[in-house]
């Protein structure tokens, strides 16, 4: 960590953020824009129009060769063998004690031969070390410095992309797919994935071309809006998407995190499968839920969840004021007995117990 504090990394778009007068903060060792204008406008532009996100800090690990599938099947929880060329899949990277090293997206560029794994910036070095250590014969490289990445998210995203990219018609793609093409001579990979719940895509582009792509997207008369990490966090919280370090970490059982849909124990063997599945079969002790406040107050990460009698039954993992709903929302682990919709819980906000209720998620239905 010392190294990152002394020498924070800059994405290929750093100068663009400075030009746009963004407020820059250090995030996962990177100098990132937290806000350009204000959270509300940036958030609403994504929900109602189209937002642009610099996600170049994300890590990209390439896994190739005849042993690529065998390696990824062992390392991750989802069924990688089911991916056809051009398809993408969410998965989890377990450690060897039943917790999680990271969560990730696997993009199949060529079935059985060539996969791109996109991981969290904060975990990239740890992930690569872990994957390398437990590699089962694949050709594995950290390509993170090679790729910039721009997320284009919102109802107008496809309209914008179809104007900008001439070799790939994104409006013809299904969700969770990837296609390789060119933009002004630079290799790009466009994936119909995202972290906002909106229609849209994430574009991997060779670092040297990232600035040109950003400028072209901003210059288009559709008037896409740059969106910082602040609004991005609210957008993902409204969808109850997990963020490593909040909802999941190296102690999380993924079934408790309600990520069972990304775990395929019937299909294959994988790291920590026995511990992960046993925790579920023995009965989950806690569960990740969404809640809304019934009385005034905003939940924040780390606040305790209690019963009306003040007994601790859980902890808030993420909380904010939802801009879409204009009310506070929270995500928390609670004891399993309190995890059903409508359960009355109390959030300890600065020593006061404020009434809340477990609710349906995602908070915002798209």
């Amino acid at each position: 960590m010392n190294q990152t504090i002394q020498n924070p990394l800059k994405t290929p778009l750093y100068n663009e953020h400075v030009k746009l007068n963004a407020r820059i903060v250090e995030f996962a060792g990177w100098q990132m824009p937290i806000q350009y204008t204000n959270l509300k406008d940036e958030h609403n532009s994504t929900r109602n129009h189209v937002g642009l996100f610099d996600v170049s800090h994300m890590g990209e690990i390439r896994v190739k060769g005849a042993k690529a599938v065998e390696t990824l099947q062992w390392l991750t929880t989802n069924d990688v063998a089911k991916l056809e060329s051009g398809q993408a899949q969410y998965g989890l990277l377990p450690n060897d004690v039943g917790g999680l090293v990271d969560d990730l997206f696997i993009y199949c560029l060529e079935k059985n031969q060539d996969y791109l794994v996109c991981v969290n910036a904060s975990n990239k070095d740890k992930d690569f070390a872990w994957m390398t250590k437990h590699n089962r014969g694949s050709d594995m490289t950290d390509e993170s410095n090679h790729w910039g990445q721009i997320a284009i998210q919102g109802p107008k995203a496809f309209e914008l992309c179809d104007k900008i990219f001439d070799t790939i018609k994104i409006s013809k793609m299904n969700r969770n797919e990837i296609q390789v093409g060119k933009f002004m001579g630079h290799t790009i990979m466009i994936a119909t994935t995202g972290y906002t719940g909106e229609l849209g895509c994430e574009v991997f582009i060779e670092s040297a071309g990232t600035e040109k792509l950003w400028q072209a997207l901003l210059a288009d008369p559709i008037k896409a809006v740059p969106v910082g990490l602040g609004a991005r966090d609210i957008l993902r919280t409204e969808m109850k998407y997990s963020l490593y370090g909040h909802e999941i970490d190296d102690t999380t059982n993924p079934y408790e995190a309600v990520l069972g849909w990304a775990i395929k124990p019937m299909a294959k063997d994988f790291m920590s499968k026995t511990q992960i599945v046993a925790a579920k079969e023995n009965g989950l002790k806690r569960k990740l839920i969404g809640f809304k406040m019934l009385d005034r107050g905003i939940p924040r990460q780390g606040y305790e969840i209690k019963t009306s009698a003040g007994v601790k039954i859980g902890t808030v993992t993420s909380g904010t004021h939802s801009i879409t709903l204009d009310e506070p929302i929270g995500i928390a682990y609670v004891d399993f007995a309190f995890s059903t919709e409508g359960s009355e819980i109390y959030v300890d906000i600065r020593g006061k117990l404020i009434k809340a209720s477990v609710c349906k998620t995602p908070f915002v239905i798209k």
Partner: protein, 129 residues
Amino acid sequence: MAFHVPEEFYYTKDHEWAQIDENIVTVGITEFAQDQLGEVVYVDLPEEGQKVTQNQPFGVVESVKAVSDLYAPVSGTVIEVNSSLVDDPSSLNDDPNNTGWLVRIEMDSEKELAQLMRAPEYKKLTAEK
């Protein structure tokens, strides 16, 4: 960015302002503070009659993203609370130097004012940020 920093106010390093009228001190947050916070969505203020201590938290403002404590510029007793902020805190963003005031405090000792900044010093502080 130029923020309006009234000359007649006193200021804390935590970006509260204090307007003195005899022994009654009206307290608010500065334009710089509201700009840093972004849209304020929640305010937690003390009850009338509550004692507050200089440099100690007396309440909380929350924007969409952040929780910030409010620090008392002087010690004393809260005699009035701007309760309109509880239902609609928007004046904290729109008019923090006037209608967005937070509380009025009957101060214990004028001597504490010596620990506060005047406008030129406060301007210098925010210019460094």
